[in-house]
Every structure is written in C-alpha cells, then in structure tokens.
C-alpha cells in the first residue's frame, strides 16, 4: 500500500514481482516504478528483504568441491571409449550396406585376402593389395556377367544400395571422426 501523495502508475504486486525476480535489485525498475518505491514502505521493505534473502541463499550453497570435479573428469574416460564405440556403429553399418550392395551387383573380394588378413604379415598385406586389384577386376567382370543374367531392375537396386551405403559411410565417418582415436588436432 502506498503512503504518500505522489501519483504512481504501477501497483505494489508488479513492483514486488520485479524485485523478487531481481533479488531486490532496483536496476530493472523504470521511472514510475522507482518513484513508487520512494513513497511505498511496503515495497522498500520487500526490496531489502529480497536482498537479504539472496545473501542468505548464497551462503546456503556449499563451497565448490574440487574432489567432485576431479572425480567427474576421471569418470569421463570410460565414457569416452563407449562414445567412440557407439559413434563407430553407424559407420560399420554403412560399410556393411555398401558391401552387401557391391556383392549383389557382382563385386566379389579376392579369395586370398580373407584367409590371410588376420595374420597381418607382409605376405598378407601384399595379398591385400593384390586382392584390391582383383576385387576391381572382379567387380567389372561380375557386373558384366550379372548384367547378362540378372533382372536389370535388381541390378539397379543393388547399385543404389551400394551407393547409399557409401554415402552413409562418408556421412557417419565425418561424425565419428570427431571422437575417433585418429584425431590429430589435440
């Protein structure tokens, strides 16, 4: 309630709501509201109480705890590995789709690679290089053979699946790169 004769354009509740929102600060009051405050002891009392309440709550917040921060940062490490695995799953799925599409079209990986790759020997890598070359030749030959025997619509579909898979690999790999082990800019 206003005690005084000064004309005011605002009511106590509006001003007290502003004071409550701003912790009793007067900065957000416009001219008429400030004028109101000058002549209204109730609103001034609320402003003072809100400032005191703000200080009281500030004291009630426990101090920062470095131990918790360190525990949190330490706990992020296992989560980082999970993130990498989860981020790689779409890449793997897209690769699979691309491979299935390629096989459907007629591309068959060189036979030698499948038996030798797990050994990671020099011979294996040589076989891998040869197989890549074989694979290219096999794709071309297979595609020509398949084109003569399979329904063109099926071939077109398989081609699309493969392209879709390759696009998927590109898109998901970009996303995965953000959290992969191979980032070089940290």
């Amino acid at each position: 309630m206003i005690r005084g004769e000064a004309p005011v354009a605002t009511d106590c509740q509006t001003i007290q709501e502003i004071l409550t929102e701003n912790g009793g600060g007067l900065e957000r009051l416009d001219g008429a509201e400030s004028q109101h405050l000058e002549v209204c002891p109730d609103c001034r009392e609320v402003a003072a109480a809100e400032r005191a309440l703000g200080l009281l709550f500030a004291r009630a917040i426990p101090p920062a705890d470095r131990v918790v921060e360190e525990r949190v940062l330490a706990a992020l490490r296992p989560a980082r590995i999970r993130r990498r695995i989860v981020a790689f799953l779409p890449v793997a799925a897209s690769l699979l789709v691309a491979l299935v599409g390629a096989v459907m079209v007629g591309g068959v990986p060189g036979s030698g690679i499948l038996g030798l790759l797990p050994e990671f020997s020099t011979q294996g890598w040589m076989a891998f290089a040869t197989s890549v070359s074989d694979w290219g030749a096999a794709v071309a030959t297979g595609a020509r053979a398949a084109a003569n025997t399979l329904d063109p619509a099926f071939l077109a579909g398989a081609g699309l699946v493969s392209i879709f898979g390759l696009v998927g690999v590109a898109v998901t790999a970009l996303r995965w790169r953000r959290v992969s082990l191979w980032r070089d800019d940290r």
Binding site: E17, L53, L56, F57, A60, P62, V68, R178
Partner: protein, 194 residues
C-alpha cells in the same frame, strides 16, 4: 582447438560444440561451471550431501555420453539439470520403497512429506549458524512441492526465470507468479534472519 583453464569465458553452446569435437577440456570447463550449483540443487532435492555428489558426477557422465543427442536449440543448463533432476527423483523413489514417509500439513493446509535430515550428510551442514540452517531446512521442506522445486532451481541451481520456465515447461508468467508466492512465504518464515 583445445580448451584450457584460460578460456572459461566461452559460452555453453561453444563449449558443447568443442566437447562434441572430442575436447574434454571444454567439457571440463562446463563441469567447473555447473558442478557447485548442480550439487547444491541435488543436495536439497535428495537431502543428502554425499549422495548429491555422486548423483552430480553421474549427471555429468550421462551428459557427456549423450552429448550427440543434445539439441542445441535448448540450453545446456536446462538439459543438464533435467538429467540431474531425473536422477534425483529416481533416487527418491527408490528410497521411498524402502521407507515409510511421514507427512505434515504446510502453511496452505496441504500435506507435504517430512524429510528427516541425516545431520552427518546435511546439505546445510557447512553453515556456521546452525539455527539458520535448521530454520532454512524446515522452511524449504515445508514449501508446497511446486514452489519448492522452483526455489531449489532458482536459488541452489542458480537458473534464471527463463531457464526454469524451459525446465519445467511452464509459461514464464506462471514461474514468476509461483516464485513470487514462494518468496512471500520465505520472507515471512525467515524474518528473523533477514
């Protein structure tokens, strides 16, 4: 770009972007920025300081693990507090299954649950003035649940009115009105300390 302790002034949004690029230092800045307030909020929510520390840690780990799913059109603070709030509520539900709650009538005639504090784990135990701690505990616990949550978010979580509105999915005007009413109760109950 790796974020160091020298760049804590970056916005939450930028720090989230850098964290998504695998920069743990950026996420560390977010942890330092929110850990104190998040723990304070959780400690009042669950009434146990040690449990609040654990839940706060869990909230950050969950946020880090799910960062790809964070929608940047929302505020990081709101998202983080929602994760923490859900963890706190789950914890309270679990505890409720093991205990029988006590109720009392609040200032507006509604029944509210009585939280009996374990003084060893008291979230206000750091206050030197134990009379104030006791009164504050009683006043906060005695608030209507809808007011209490807003007061915790505002004064312990340090969220702005707009962030609280986003968090609770209430119109901003409703948040203002409810906090105004809650503060009226707080001012009256804590008069001797103001």
């Amino acid at each position: 770009m790796a974020v160091t302790k020298k760049t804590p002034q970056l916005s939450d949004e930028r720090l989230v972007e850098l964290s998504l690029d695998g920069d743990e230092g950026a996420f560390g800045v977010l942890v330092r920025r929110y850990q104190r307030r998040l723990t304070a909020f959780l400690s009042q929510l669950v009434g146990d300081m040690e449990l609040a520390r654990e839940l706060s840690q869990e909230a950050f780990v969950r946020a880090w693990s799910a960062l790809e799913r964070f929608n940047p059109k929302y505020r990081f603070s709101t998202w983080l507090f929602r994760i923490a709030h859900n963890l706190g509520i789950d914890q309270l539900r679990r505890r409720r299954l093991l205990t029988t709650p006590l109720y009392r009538t609040d200032s507006e005639g509604d029944e509210v649950e009585v939280v009996v504090p374990d003084l060893d784990k008291d979230p206000l135990g750091h206050l030197e003035n134990q009379a104030l701690a006791s009164e504050l505990r009683e006043v906060i616990d005695g608030l209507r649940p809808e007011y209490r949550e807003l007061v915790l978010l505002r004064h312990f979580g340090g969220l702005s009115y707009q962030e609280i509105a986003d968090f609770t999915e209430m119109p901003l005007g409703t948040v203002k009105n409810k906090l105004f009413r809650a503060h009226s109760v707080l001012r009256k109950a804590l008069t001797e300390f103001l």
